[in-house]
């Protein structure tokens, strides 16, 4: 019970700190909102899969809040139902690539010598391989059982540039006096890496996480546009690709069909990126001037 209340109180403290930055907190709330809509929303707004030929490309109205698509289906329901897959893939991809980059980047920077040389060589090779063609080739070769595997693929491809950046941060932090003091106090390499160096890189890490998410979202959309991801059902990427293919941009009334998924994606990315401003305050006490 004690742990429970402790967890709650530290959650409360974290939220309070995040609220010091108004813009960031607004972004955070928007992220919560989008996540709720995408994961809980479908229970309230079932996917409209009924073809209504007489309702093709209707503009927004009281009945169809966002209008209808090329098959007369309600776009609003598609938007509500379409976020889940996109978000899951993005989170998995971002988490994986950030984890790889931070672990190996810090280790490489801290250890130096041959370990560093080997890890950097692998990273440089990965960096020189063109990302999109590689992605397309792998996507066409591999079977996607579920969205998680797509997330894993994207995560495995995204880490090189982040690793380089993390490593250079680790290299410079390594020289700082407080790290030398930790060495003098004989606190050991694991402590120094995880309790001294990494916490001082958190701002960079969370921003990289946010950007990795946005990168994963774009990659997904690209894959769907190329028809390499055999997703049934609806997600924002699929909506975009269908809208494109069906020529939605050429009709005045059907512009909603292509704009809504774009708006949803942009809104998600914007809120994730602005949330980082609040998260920065949590991880870097020096930025908190409001206390």
């Amino acid at each position: 019970m004690n742990m429970f209340t402790q967890a709650f109180s530290s959650l409360g403290v974290t939220l309070r700190i995040m609220s010091y930055n108004k813009v960031g907190f607004a972004g955070f709330l928007m992220v919560i909102f989008i996540v709720l809509v995408s994961f809980v929303g479908p229970y309230f707004v079932p996917l409209d899969s009924e073809t209504k030929v007489d309702q093709i490309f209707q503009p927004p109205s009281a009945q169809y809040w966002f209008g209808t698509d090329h098959q007369g289906r309600d776009i609003f329901s598609h938007i509500v139902n379409g976020g889940k897959d996109v978000i899951i893939v993005a989170v998995i991809a971002a988490t994986l690539s950030t984890l790889i980059a931070v672990t190996f980047g810090t280790f490489s920077g801290f250890a130096g010598g041959r370990t560093d040389a080997v890890i950097m060589a692998i990273t440089d090779i990965m960096l020189t391989i063109p990302q999109l063609p590689l992605l397309l080739i792998l996507a066409s070769l591999l079977q996607f059982e579920n969205i998680a595997s797509l997330g894993l693929l994207l995560g495995f491809l995204n880490w090189p540039s982040l690793l380089r950046a993390v490593r250079s941060q680790a290299l410079s932090l390594k020289e700082r006096d407080f790290v030398e003091a930790a060495r003098a106090l004989d606190l050991g390499a694991p402590h120094i890496i995880f309790r001294e160096i990494v916490p001082n890189m958190m701002t960079y890490i969370i921003i990289s996480f946010a950007l990795a998410m946005t990168g994963a979202i774009y990659a997904q959309v690209a894959l769907v546009l190329f028809g390499l991801v055999p997703f049934s059902g609806s997600n924002w990427g699929v909506m975009l690709s269908l809208a494109w293919v069906r020529g939605a941009i050429f009709f005045k009334d059907s512009i909603w069909y292509i704009m809504m998924p774009i708006a949803a994606i942009v809104l998600l990315q914007l809120s994730v990126v602005t949330t980082t401003r609040s998260l920065e305050l949590v991880f870097n006490p020096r930025l908190r001037s409001g206390e």
């Binding site: 407080f178 003098a184 106090l185 606190l187 050991g188 402590h191 309790r195 916490p199 006490p285 020096r286």
Partner: protein
């Protein structure tokens, strides 16, 4: 038996053409309970020497002895003991504390890591004690603060408290008061003096400020370094009042004094050149010779002069001037 001794220690940085000797064949012996000041201008190697003594940098030549035993031949247990016994206080109060940890975390971490205490409550208590020892009272006011919420002087005190967590016997203070306000420096130094008396700690005080060196090490000794070598060494009172090496004399004469009449009466020593040689291209023989007013061709630019004993006390690396006393004040 010396507490820590350096025998012909050198430290090189860089490779090939870029190789420099930051420390060049330095031999220093510091006794237990001694206060030794290492003075010199920037680039003379004093910080590097201090870090070599603390085991944070390895010597590339010569050997380091702790309690008469070479440190590269200590058992793992003894080596650990040596590393704990020698601690360092850094110069920059803004860089020496982890900015994302509270003072409590900073002090309790080594206590818990090395099992100096049983559990977090005792760690808190001991941390409070240490903060009080360094005059951060009441400790509770500081525990939950982050470093950026403290002043420079307070941060240095936290650094000292952190060093005390492992019960050190030898403290290297590397320009520890240089970045602190003038009016606070003395209280920091007095606090360090108290530590020395109460816990019998040996001190190596590295500084470029000769007046502070004189104050802090009045009962101790000074070693003067120039471009990686020790040029003069001796009891503080002797070195300050009766410097023998031309470089030491030039330094003492050059320091401005906070007293208009006194500063007007100081002897002006004019050096032959204002250029400071780069470590990449050291002059042959005595490295000070291009600037030395007593330069003798054929003697000073041939072989580096050894440190030789002087009657007045200590050693001087200048065969020409070591026995000549020079007053630093013009007659009133």
């Amino acid at each position: 038996m010396a507490h820590i001794e350096l025998q012909n220690v050198s430290r090189a940085f860089g490779k090939g053409k870029e190789r420099v000797l930051a420390v060049d064949s330095v031999s220093l012996a510091i006794e237990r309970g001694e206060i030794r000041c290492l003075v010199g201008e920037s680039g003379c190697g004093k910080s590097t020497t201090g870090k070599i003594m603390a085991g944070l940098l390895k010597a590339t030549g010569g050997q380091v002895l702790y309690d008469n035993k070479p440190i590269d031949r200590l058992s793992a247990e003894e080596y650990r003991e040596y590393r704990h016994a020698v601690q360092i206080i850094h110069q920059d109060p803004y860089a020496s504390l982890n900015p994302v940890q509270t003072i409590q975390q900073i002090i309790t971490t080594p206590l818990l890591h090395h099992r100096k205490v049983n559990g977090t409550q005792e760690a808190y208590r001991r941390a409070s004690e240490l903060l009080e020892i360094v005059d951060l009272t009441p400790a509770i006011d500081f525990m939950n603060k982050y470093p950026h919420q403290l002043s420079g002087g307070q941060r240095q005190r936290v650094s000292v408290a952190r060093a005390l967590t492992v019960d050190p016997k030898f403290i290297v203070a590397d320009e520890a008061v240089s970045m602190v306000d003038v009016s606070i420096r003395v209280s920091l130094l007095n606090m360090l003096m108290r530590l020395k008396d109460e816990f019998d700690v040996t001190f190596l005080f590295i500084t470029h400020d000769l007046a502070l060196a004189k104050y802090f090490a009045w009962q101790g000794a000074i070693s003067v370094m120039y471009l990686g070598r020790v040029v003069e060494e001796g009891p503080t009172q002797r070195v300050i009042a009766d410097p023998r090496h031309p470089y030491t004399q030039a330094l003492l004469a050059a320091v401005p004094e906070a007293d208009p009449e006194l500063t007007r009466r100081k002897r002006r020593i004019v050096l032959r050149s204002a250029d400071i040689p780069s470590l990449l291209a050291l002059p042959p023989g005595c490295t000070f010779h291009p600037r030395c007013p007593y330069f003798v061709e054929g003697v000073c630019d041939v072989a580096p002069p050894p440190l030789e004993a002087v009657d007045a006390g200590g050693r001087v690396a200048c065969p020409i001037r070591k026995d000549i006393h020079m007053s630093l004040l013009e007659p009133a």
